[in-house]
Subunit: 386 residues, 2 copies
């Protein structure tokens, strides 16, 4: 294992009705709360009203309309509100987009320049307002980590940024909040969770035994419970395991002791930056093609491990056969969850492959990935997705 720091300090309140703790959590930080949310689903499912009922002693300022790929324009509005209203704590209620947007708002509140600077250069993040999240989508893991991804549609840029102080102080994870999700969001969110695991699981370093086993456990949970949740949206145990999978996949546990750069995420960021696709859908499309592309004598043993420990395939002599079976099962799984599995189906053709591949390599650090990729490699993977 490589050296690592693990500091997932978020105070997690997991389970039914945990929102009851919200006033006690928030009052540690102050009275003036910036409530951040997206398109208004929290008004339909009752969370919005519940928050106002619980926070009668607080001053709430609202920022609504956060986009599925959150825009820097929305961040700027939030930063202005923080400064104008002297906000003490930022309260995103939603999925990763709402939480990511809130993180950069919380950093922007203490920054004099344009918050886009904080996306381009994380070193400029010096101080951050406390963040408390209420999660309504199991996907990005943002509820328990330091990452945020923001889009700038003017420049077709979607970049990740991160700060140790972006880690939420507390997160409320109530699996019942997932009951009313559209099926595609359950499926795409699961694909996102699985991709976070894959990005860390496929690596040259073979001695991170415990992180590898944790990775496999999370993948098995996703495979088992996503289908249950799609068939029976109010299955508590399925939602609970998917929600916990989200936090566990990207809080540092699975990546502990691993130093390699990611692959599918930087490529997907270019798809989202140019076409505004659902992040998890882009990842699901890319993942099996990336796996096939990098499968070789050098990587086959990891794929065999994946085949045995996640898909429980019986050991076979032909390692490549096993590896390909596992990759086929991965693709079939996403398809059976209802995810469109080609770029063509979601309206993307090859016209921007050159620029997307070039930017994925330039910004994504793909030369440091498990299997390093250049522009031609990325274009080939994108072509496999048509």
């Amino acid at each position: 294992m490589n050296n690592f720091r693990f500091h997932a300090y978020t105070d997690i309140y997991f389970g039914k009705g945990q929102i009851i703790n919200l006033p006690d959590i928030l009052k540690q930080f102050g009275k003036r709360v910036l409530l951040v949310y997206g398109g208004g689903s929290i008004k339909k499912n009752g969370i919005y009203d519940k928050i106002y009922e619980l926070l009668q002693d607080f001053e709430i300022t609202e920022l609504s309309g956060v986009e599925p790929n959150p825009r820097i324009t929305t961040v700027r509005k939030g930063v202005e509100l923080c400064k104008e209203k002297q906000i003490d704590v930022v309260l995103p209620v939603g999925g990763g987009s709402t939480i990511d947007c809130s993180k950069v708002i919380a950093g922007g509140a203490y920054y004099e320049g344009d918050p886009w600077d904080l996306v381009l250069d994380p070193k400029k993040i010096k101080k951050v307002l406390p963040i408390v999240t209420i999660l309504t989508l199991a996907a990005t893991g943002s509820e328990m980590n330091k990452n945020a991804v923001i889009s700038n549609m003017d420049t077709n840029e979607k970049f990740g940024t991160s700060s140790h102080d972006f880690i939420p102080q507390a997160s409320i994870l109530d699996p019942e909040y997932l009951y009313t999700l559209p099926a595609i969001q359950t499926a795409a969110g699961t694909a996102d969770i699985m991709s976070h695991v894959f990005e860390n699981y496929f690596k040259t370093m073979t001695s991170a035994f415990i992180p590898d086993r944790f990775a496999e456990g999370i993948l098995e949970a996703c495979i088992k419970y996503c289908k249950v949740a799609l068939e029976k949206p109010d299955d508590y145990e399925a939602r609970a395991n998917l929600m916990w999978a989200s936090s566990m996949a990207l809080n540092g546990l699975v990546g502990a002791g691993n130093g390699a750069a990611w692959t599918c995420h930087p490529i997907e960021h270019e798809l989202s930056a140019y076409y505004d696709v659902t992040h998890g859908v882009g990842l699901a499309i890319l993942t099996p093609r990336w796996m096939r592309y990098i499968l070789s004598e050098d990587t086959v043993d990891r794929f065999v491990m994946y085949a045995e420990n996640v898909w429980h395939l019986k050991p076979q002599e032909d390692k490549f056969l096993m590896a390909n079976q596992a990759i086929d099962l991965t693709e079939k799984f996403f398809k059976e969850c209802g995810i469109p599995m080609t770029l063509t189906e979601i309206g993307i053709d090859d016209s921007k492959f050159d620029i997307m591949a070039e930017k994925a390599v330039r910004y994504g650090g793909l030369e440091r990935a498990y299997v390093p990729l250049d522009v031609q490699d990325v274009k080939e993977i994108l072509r496999m997705c048509l």
Copy 2:
């Protein structure tokens, strides 16, 4: 899954040479450090000198001689030092005993009465000095959790206490510090880690899928790497995985969503209270007997899962056969690691079984265990250990 709170906020610095971060970690809390350690092994392996070299700008007060089952008498000495020297931060360097002792010292520093009160009644712990640990034994998980166990040899009492504020602020985990451990401590420490997992893994609640998979991964790591470390004490990867197993087994991950009381630990506490045995040795002796005693139609499915997922036994029709094979493998494993596997071998006869069983039930909450046990049950398990 039951509702739970997960807040493992310790800042972990894992890997070779991480002690270099000690000054930066400590200076957040102040200059006056109480250095707590045991029998002096840290003087032999160079950690002691390294600490003085790094902490030239700090005022160090020492408390040495912490016992393997730490005594309340030592806690009292530490509390006096904290008050007299106005200590800012407590720095245990050692295994669970040293860390546990330091936790109650850190709580006692803000308490006016006798610190034994804090062991008998955790509610009396109101405020705690910050704790930073340097771990030299992979076993109790105390480096990342809220628990402490203290013995009172005057009254033959050994009790656990706990406080959210006992969770260390930071812990330095350098696997190289384990190279010089005596073999029995490597083995007994591993048995302790495995017991923490067993206490949470064997439960009626079957829906905590992710915690169950994490549990199995930690157990597999222990089984694989303990033998490697015993054969080759300076095998870095073996030590790294055992050290990480220690923290992961008891920081809340494996127990997430599980509400049952523990079984082997409260029984072992009575062995230690009367005979001062090594905690991990007592646990290793008790564990397979406890497993055999509670195996029944009601519990067999969990043991089959254990047999399949941890020992990788092939599915068989006879569930009890599989379960017993897994229990036999557990006992064989401890034996092969060099642990004396009967009470007789460590000089304990049945003369105190009555009082020990009675106290284990009275103080251990065994009526709320996975399989509830009464005094007769505990005595029978103890007899099986002779």
